[in-house]
């Protein structure tokens, strides 16, 4: 059953061959990217039934796990891999002018490969390589706009990200020096060797490294600049999809390897700080793009708080918020393509494209967490899981999350007010593109259908989260006959 490996290898093969394919025929060069993404989705759908009972463990190169690299494909990993394929397909950067189109499509295909590898891999250094691959392709895409601001914003982003990945490398060196292995399952078995100060420092370094793209509090200074300067579709991909995959590394490490309580407390504190700074910055923002960028920092802060809760309840709550954010945020960024400017330019926008404005309001309501919509259900899970812990720290975190929801409601209401203000003289707001409207309506339709079938979806997500949070079954699946190094 090699579908997951093909989901990793085929986009990369397309990326390598795209320059040659495009030279042969322009049409093929234009459509092969989306075609391979559809192929990824089909492969994922093909592999999904096989994952119901037990996750799939694929040893790369045929070498048994501790020696070689292993792909651990459980339901959560496949969910994210298919989410990447669908998200990038909807946000395919079709805006590129002709001469740049080939290179931008190549970078996008490499980004899909990297994020798929992040979702599926079960080896610590392979996660680092896929993370670097996602990082460098997102630098290329962010700076692809060609404007000076995009270049400068990407440069500052690269400085922070290189700093983070060097720290991550030191973290991996500390982990390897303590345990002698890189396979996540064997690390889970040897996790008491990492319980000491060396393990904690290794966790902090890997957290800071992976936190750069997951917009973790101290290392997310780049977010408003890059999302403001880069193309909005690229911002949608980075904020909506790639940040969740970087978060997935931290979740795997927390569940499997670093189980000391200090690690969870650090994540909780950084998550709460992220929520506070993100929501306040979004409230102060005067243009839609910066507001969406800072609100995604806040949302990811909520996810960090959720994943810092020990046990399957935390993973379930975090997964719910992550998937909901993955559905809503790219569509909002796509709408910002036309409405990205200052809020004062927005009046009359609803008159020009009423459907897009309605979708914007619906998505915003769900983001804030208004009861019938899945956004409320996700935040409710986080609050109940956090209160379930009983400690004052989590109670404080819940208070911050609720206050942040209020702030979020206020600034999104301000945007909605601008959208729906009736204007008589020539409307300054510009009309939405057809692609943006279709993606927004798809997202809203998915949101409404998720609201209707919330119970079954919630149960299957709970099973997925329980499977992902189950450490012993992970070890048993990778080493059926026990660990022989």
């Amino acid at each position: 059953m090699n579908a997951p490996v093909l989901m990793f290898a085929l986009p990369l093969l397309t990326a390598f061959l795209l320059p040659v394919i495009d030279r042969l025929s322009g049409l093929a060069g234009r459509w092969i990217g989306p075609l391979v993404l559809v192929g990824n989705l089909l492969l994922g759908a093909l592999a999904w039934p096989h994952l119901q009972d037990a996750p799939l463990v694929l040893a790369m190169g045929g070498f048994r796990p501790p020696l070689g690299i292993v792909f651990y494909v459980d339901r959560m990993a496949m969910l994210f891999a298919m989410g990447v394929a669908l998200g990038v397909l909807l946000l395919w950067p079709a805006w590129a002018q002709d001469k740049d189109r080939v290179r931008i499509s190549t970078l996008t295909m490499v980004l899909v490969t990297a994020t798929t590898g992040l979702a599926l891999s079960g080896d610590l250094f392979n996660l680092f390589v896929c993370y670097e691959l996602a990082a460098i392709s997102s630098y290329g895409l962010a700076a692809a706009g060609g404007s000076a601001a995009a270049g400068a914003a990407t440069l500052r982003y690269m400085v922070i990200s290189s700093f983070g990945s060097a720290l991550m490398l030191i973290g991996i060196a500390l982990v390897y020096q303590a345990t002698g292995t890189l396979n996540l399952a064997q690390l889970a078995v040897l996790s008491d060797a990492l319980a000491g100060p060396q393990g904690l420092i290794a966790f902090i370094f890997i957290l800071l490294g992976a936190g750069v793209k997951a917009e973790l509090f101290p290392v997310n200074a780049w977010v408003p600049e890059v999302y403001g300067a880069a193309a909005q579709r690229v911002a949608g991909i980075l904020a909506g999809i790639v940040s969740k995959l970087a978060l997935l590394i931290i979740v795997r490490l927390l569940v499997l390897v670093f189980r000391q309580p200090e690690a969870q407390q650090i994540l909780l504190v950084l998550g709460v700080l992220g929520v506070i700074t993100g929501e306040l910055a979004a409230w102060r923002a005067q243009d839609l793009t910066r507001m969406l960028a800072c609100s995604s920092i806040g949302q990811l802060g909520v996810m960090f708080v959720a994943f810092s809760i020990p046990g399957p309840a935390g993973v379930f709550a975090g997964l719910a918020v992550a998937l909901h954010h993955m559905l809503v945020k790219p569509a909002l960024f796509l709408l910002a393509e036309r409405w990205g400017g200052a809020l004062t330019r927005l009046p009359g926008a609803a008159q020009k494209s009423p459907l897009a404005a309605a979708c914007f309001v619906l998505l915003a309501l769900s983001l804030v967490g208004i009861p019938p919509l899945p956004g409320f259900w996700a935040k409710f899970l986080v609050v109940t899981a956090a209160l379930g812990q009983g400690t004052p720290a989590y109670a404080g975190a819940v208070a911050v999350i609720l206050a942040a929801a209020v702030i979020e409601a206020s600034y999104l209401a301000r945007v909605a007010a601008h959208l729906y203000r009736r204007v008589t003289q020539p409307l300054s707001a510009n009309r939405q593109t057809r692609a943006a409207v279709t993606v927004a309506t798809c997202a809203s339709a998915a949101l409404v259908s998720a609201t209707l079938w919330l119970a079954p979806l919630g149960n299957s997500l709970q099973v997925t989260a329980a499977q992902a949070a189950d450490r012993d079954s992970y070890i048993h699946n990778v080493f059926p006959q026990g660990v022989q190094p």
């Binding site: 490996v5 093909l6 990369l12 040659v20 790369m60 070498f63 970078l107 303590a178 420092i201």
Partner: protein, 229 residues
């Protein structure tokens, strides 16, 4: 003020790191996976250089990822550098020494680069190190005679085909039911030039790709529109 805060933070971090480092057992490598690979590699993979068998066989996906990183860096750089307007006059012709040294060195660099790539599975070195030397070989004539046009087209095609070859060899294993990137074509006699199955082919693909990519990257930076300061 910001600077002293940063300085303070760094002092704290430095102490933290040194505290951990001092009780860091140097020379006490746990060797869990390492010793298993050391004993298994000659038998399973058949390469004399065990590091090459780790790079290409046991951790082949890492090397594929790294190849993709280099490819992405070169593509993104090409995207940003763009084509140089033909109007700008090229840099002056290089001096006598550089021109003749370049003509002399070009074949030597090619031979050394190819030697290191081909002997990747026997002696230290391999695709990446040999590829860099090849890149120097391809870039040297452009340094000596900046007016000569760097044929990006040809190098682009070689680069794409070499990358596709690496993945193709990996996918070949899937055809007869084996896992991705499984070494094939038997192991041959340890230490002989033709041994360790597909490893030399993989390293040849890596070497060619790295060589052409980096030469293109360096040519792109050198040809960035020459603004006289």
């Amino acid at each position: 003020m910001r600077r002293y805060l940063a300085l303070l933070l760094l002092m704290l971090m430095a102490l933290l790191l040194l505290a951990v480092a001092m009780q860091f057992g140097f020379g006490a490598a746990p060797m869990r996976v390492g010793s298993a690979i050391n004993s298994a590699a000659p038998g399973q993979v058949g390469a004399a250089n065990i590091v090459t068998s780790v790079v290409l066989a046991y951790r082949g996906i890492d090397t594929l990822g790294e190849l993709a990183i280099l490819f992405t860096a070169a593509t993104a750089a090409g995207l940003l550098l763009g084509q140089r307007p033909a109007t700008t006059q090229p840099d002056p012709e290089a001096g006598f020494i550089l021109r003749h040294a370049a003509d002399l060195l070009f074949p030597l660099l090619l031979v050394v680069g190819l030697f290191i790539i081909v002997h990747g599975h026997l002696t230290p070195g391999g695709g990446f190190q040999g590829g860099v030397i090849l890149a120097a070989a391809f870039f040297l004539p452009l340094l000596a005679r900046p007016a000569s046009r760097f044929r990006h087209g040809v190098f682009g095609v070689v680069e794409a085909l070499a990358g596709a070859a690496f993945i193709g060899i990996g996918l070949l294993a899937l055809t007869d039911g084996g896992p991705f990137l499984q070494p094939m074509l038997g192991k041959g006699v340890l230490g002989h030039l033709v041994s360790a199955g597909t490893l030399p082919l993989l390293y040849a693909a890596v070497g060619l790709k790295v060589g052409t990519e980096l030469a293109g990257l360096m040519a792109g930076i050198a040809a960035y529109e020459a603004r006289d300061p």
